[in-house]
């Protein structure tokens, strides 16, 4: 890992790293400290210095049924989003990896949705899956009230999960295809010689060999579903957390609480819980993924 030949200087590497380290200190470590400080203090309503309140902010957060609602929504969103993206990505990667004529073109196309920002995709899907126009209107005119995300919370949750899955399926596809391409051809060819067909090979050889990639994607997509840059944008621009808080994911609630409710302490306490969750994910990732098998 370390290089044999290196330069000897102490000030030069420091000077080279300084700009980025300064940015990180200012925009990462300082806020990270502040979030902890705020979580345990409360600003008095009539001004003055913030006072230490111990775990009171956390108690308030945990006593709020809407907070638990956001936890359940986030869990549902992250699980459903993760499973559907990985499933779609896996099926498409297995299909494209067979390298039939034309698979190069679809490979190119499948990646495109990943370029779209979550909020822009959310806006478009508001139309595409709207109850009165777009694709679902015909279904709704045959079966009235079959689909209405503006009215039913469960439909709205499905809608945001669909937007998430649409955008991120291309991402899991890229990784799974790269993983499939590193499965040695000799293995699949030997299996084919023994008379196993493509589906048998996929189940018995390719998918087990993809285990590290699948696990990596599981952790990445769960993290993305909980705190991803897009998750907030998707929810904000597709359903705005509604109807009746049914799509209010944890990140959305934190931002709402902080910038609409101006409750920095409550928002920070919620951030701490979320940070704890991410740390668990990251820990799992490093504990298990870093020891993955390399088969090259």
């Amino acid at each position: 890992m370390d290089k044999r030949a290196v330069f000897r200087s102490w000030w030069l590497p420091t000077a080279f790293a300084l700009p980025q380290l300064a940015l990180i200190a200012l925009f990462f470590y300082w806020p990270a400290v502040a979030v902890v400080r705020w979580a345990f203090t409360l600003e008095p309503p009539f001004g003055g210095a913030a006072e230490f309140v111990g775990l009171a902010n956390f108690r308030d957060v945990f006593a709020d049924p809407l907070y638990w609602n956001s936890v359940v929504v986030s869990l549902t969103f992250a699980f459903a989003g993760t499973l559907s993206t990985i499933f779609i990505g896996l099926v498409l990667a297995l299909a494209v990896d067979r390298q039939l004529p034309g698979s190069g073109a679809v490979r190119f196309l499948y990646i495109l949705p990943y370029a779209i920002a979550g909020p822009a995709a959310g806006m478009a899907f508001r139309f595409i899956l709207s109850p009165e126009r777009g694709l679902m209107a015909s279904v709704n005119s045959a079966f009235p009230d079959f689909w209405n995300p503006a009215k039913y919370g469960s439909h709205a949750l499905i809608l945001v999960i669909v937007v998430f899955a649409w955008k991120w399926a291309g991402y899991t596809f890229i990784f799974l295809l790269a993983g499939l391409q590193s499965v040695p051809k000799s293995l699949t060819e030997a299996a084919a010689m023994d008379g196993s067909g493509p589906i048998r090979r996929a189940i018995d050889i390719q998918i087990p060999m993809l285990a590290p990639t699948l696990f990596f994607l599981l952790v990445t997509m769960m993290t993305e579903g909980f705190v991803g840059a897009d998750t907030y944008g998707i929810v904000a621009r597709t359903t705005d957390g509604g109807p009746n808080h049914s799509t209010e994911v944890m990140v959305y609630r934190i931002v709402e609480e902080a910038f609409r409710g101006l409750n920095y302490s409550g928002a920070s306490a919620q951030s701490i819980v979320l940070i704890g969750l991410i740390m668990i994910f990251t820990f799992i990732q490093f504990r298990f993924i870093e020891r993955r098998v390399h088969y090259k």
């Binding site: 030069l12 790293a17 980025q20 806020p31 299909a95 067979r98 990646i111 495109l112 621009r237 990251t282």
Partner: protein
């Protein structure tokens, strides 16, 4: 493959076609809707055939959401994020890989930990920092000297505020680090033997060699920067600094009257185009950057 599998091949094509419908179908609906008139776009059932109104709708959306300014701002923001990332991470990775100092592991971990907390979970305090940039310095001065100074500088409504906090992450550093570690030791040895110092080595050997890494990083960072939503939303109150993602709200059809989704869709199409072009045209680099920066 050494096998003939006509049924499995047919099934594979069915799956690929389904994938195509699922992933590319929405684009087709967006384009079709964006090219129709108000009556056509609201018709049931939906007509998938594009009509002739695309440019007119785009022009209307451009005007309504003031997309000229927004596109320019998004472009500036994405470019600044990209440039900052490409330049600063190359330098940090260089100092981590090519020197033997006690600090290098410290630097590595300082950068590494930033992977753990995305901007979204620390957005509240990061906003507070950007709104009052000198608070840490003020506190430090007050703590060291006991003097309260009034230094104030905020990054709200500025390009620096839009881009700098997004540069403060680890992605690029690891991409460069991985690449630097694959460079043969002989390069640095030869450079030293020829009397070149580290700075010259960095600019004349390392940077030209990392062209592919830079290109890969450029593509992913541009898309990342362009697609930012939450951060600009907090940073910008002045319409002259609005980015494209913020103008989505202005594109929403009004509640009264027949909603003109055709204009909305045309507007979102304009906003989607730049990152879409980057991913389509530079897909090789984009995929390489994505796969190697995450793993």
């Amino acid at each position: 493959m050494i096998q003939r599998t006509p049924y499995a091949d047919a099934f594979t094509y069915v799956l690929m076609a389904l994938g195509f419908l699922l992933l590319i179908g929405p684009f087709a609906v967006i384009v079709a809707g964006a090219s129709q008139t108000v009556q056509q776009v609201n018709a049931v059932p939906f007509n998938f055939l594009p009509q002739g109104q695309l440019l007119a709708n785009m022009a209307e959306a451009w005007q309504r959401a003031n997309l000229g300014t927004a596109m320019l701002n998004s472009f500036i923001m994405a470019s600044l994020v990209t440039f900052g990332k490409v330049a600063l991470s190359a330098m940090t990775a260089f100092s981590i890989v090519f020197f033997r100092t006690r600090f290098k592991h410290v630097f590595f971990w300082i950068v590494f930990i930033t992977l753990m907390l995305p901007l979204e979970v620390r957005v509240v305090p990061t906003y507070a920092v950007a709104a009052d940039l000198f608070e840490p310095i003020r506190l430090l001065i007050a703590w060291v000297t006991g003097i309260t100074v009034s230094l104030n500088w905020n990054l709200l409504n500025s390009y620096a505020g839009l881009s700098l906090p997004l540069v403060a992450t680890a992605t690029g550093t690891f991409l460069y680090r991985q690449f630097y570690l694959t460079l043969p030791d002989e390069l640095a040895e030869a450079a030293r033997m020829d009397g070149s110092g580290p700075i010259r080595f960095f600019f004349d050997v390392v940077l030209p060699l990392s062209r592919t890494t830079m290109l890969a990083l450029t593509t992913i960072m541009f898309v990342y920067g362009w697609n930012q939503y939450l951060w600009p939303l907090l940073m910008v109150t002045d319409p002259t600094y609005k980015t494209t993602m913020m103008s989505l709200v202005a594109l929403l059809p009004s509640e009264n009257g027949t909603p003109d989704w055709n204009v909305t869709l045309a507007g979102s199409l304009i906003i989607m185009l730049p990152p879409l072009l980057v991913v389509a045209v530079l897909q090789r680099w984009f995929v390489r950057g994505l796969v190697s920066s995450e793993k």
